[in-house]
Amino acid sequence: MNKELEHSFVELLQKHQNIVHKVCRLYTNNTDAHNDLFQEITIQLWRAYPKFRGDSKFSTWMYRVGLNTAITLYRKSKRRITTQEFDSVEFKIKSEEYDDTEEQQLKVLYKALHQLNDIEKALVFLYLEDKDYREISKTLGISEVNARVKMNRVKKKLKTILNP
């Protein structure tokens, strides 16, 4: 039974691992930390998996556990001293219609994302993942109105960073 559970979990996570990667990218700024957080989210997901009933989508459930781990549970690992920081360019894949100004803007935007605090990052993350305000508010435990207000503030903040 346990083996079966493990198997189904690994299969699901393997398929949806991009969600975890995206959380890690937002909350860490080097490869070691990224891998560390990925590892911890995986453990937390696995621990919570027996309680996953399938009444929500696996991916939706992952957002919650993933963000909770990044914001609250994860304790930064000690071994993270000499690693180089990501260049924000790394986040960007080469798009076919290479647009220099857009490229530049994205570079600054990704950098700006890293300057937000943990809660703002969570909001932006869910927004980028196309979640509606109802789901954002349910994931974070705040009201829908407050989620909306805060999101608008974050948008303004990003705008100021981009166009000083």
Binding site: I43, R64, L73, R75, L109, N146, L158
Partner: protein, 210 residues
């Protein structure tokens, strides 16, 4: 175009820059140790319980004179009552800790999760405060017991002048006070470091409600 829309467009592109973990990679990860703050908090609370238990039990087994004295003092109803109370308190704390750990779930919403962890931290905090207060109270109490039970000590004290008595009490209180404050600062430091981020994020999420 809105900055975030631009970002969204890029965000949802099929990214290939992430390492694609295989099934076996993930299997290996499942069996690695977690480094979550809840786990650390759990170890701290266990260490806390064991430490204070040992502190009360060890002297009993390490010295036979102490053992005899202690057994004799159980005849005193006040002492017996205090001992029973202290064991009861330990049981209550174990129960409260168990309950608050059970309540922590990574599938709750972020705010609830933070609150439950902070609640657990509070239970540990109260246990520490309780122990510190008990130490503080036990110092004058043990002086009082010694005074009543130990003839030699009684004799010595009886010869003291009022000034000497005041100095003795003052000294005991100051030493005990400094010791307790140091211990308290030590705890603050441990929890401060461990829960710094959690506290910051909790403040941030609470701010959204105002």
């Amino acid at each position: 175009m809105d900055e975030l829309d631009l970002l969204k467009k890029d965000w949802n592109k099929d990214k290939s820059e992430f390492k694609n973990y295989s099934d076996s990679d993930i299997y290996t990860m499942l069996h690695k140790k977690s480094s979550s703050i809840v786990k650390t908090l759990f170890y701290i609370s266990i260490a806390e319980l064991v430490f204070w238990l040992l502190a009360s039990i060890l002297p009993y087994y390490s010295s036979s004179t102490f053992q005899e004295k202690l057994e004799a003092s159980y005849a005193n109803p006040l002492f017996l009552g205090l001992s029973i109370l202290s064991y009861l308190v330990i049981l209550i704390f174990i129960y409260l800790l168990y309950k608050s750990y059970k309540a922590i779930s990574s599938t709750d919403n972020a705010k609830k999760l933070m609150e439950n962890i902070l609640k657990t931290r509070k239970v540990i905090k109260y246990y520490v405060i309780y122990n510190l207060i008990m130490i503080f109270l036990s110092i004058p109490l043990s002086l009082y017991f010694e005074y009543n039970e130990n003839q030699e000590f009684h004799q010595q004290i009886a010869e003291f002048s009022t000034n000497q008595m005041l100095v003795l009490y003052g000294f005991v209180v100051v030493v005990a006070g400094v010791f307790l404050i140091l211990l308290w600062l030590f705890y603050r430091l441990i929890y401060g470091i461990l829960l710094k981020r959690l506290n910051r994020n909790y403040v941030e999420i609470k701010k959204l409600e105002v």
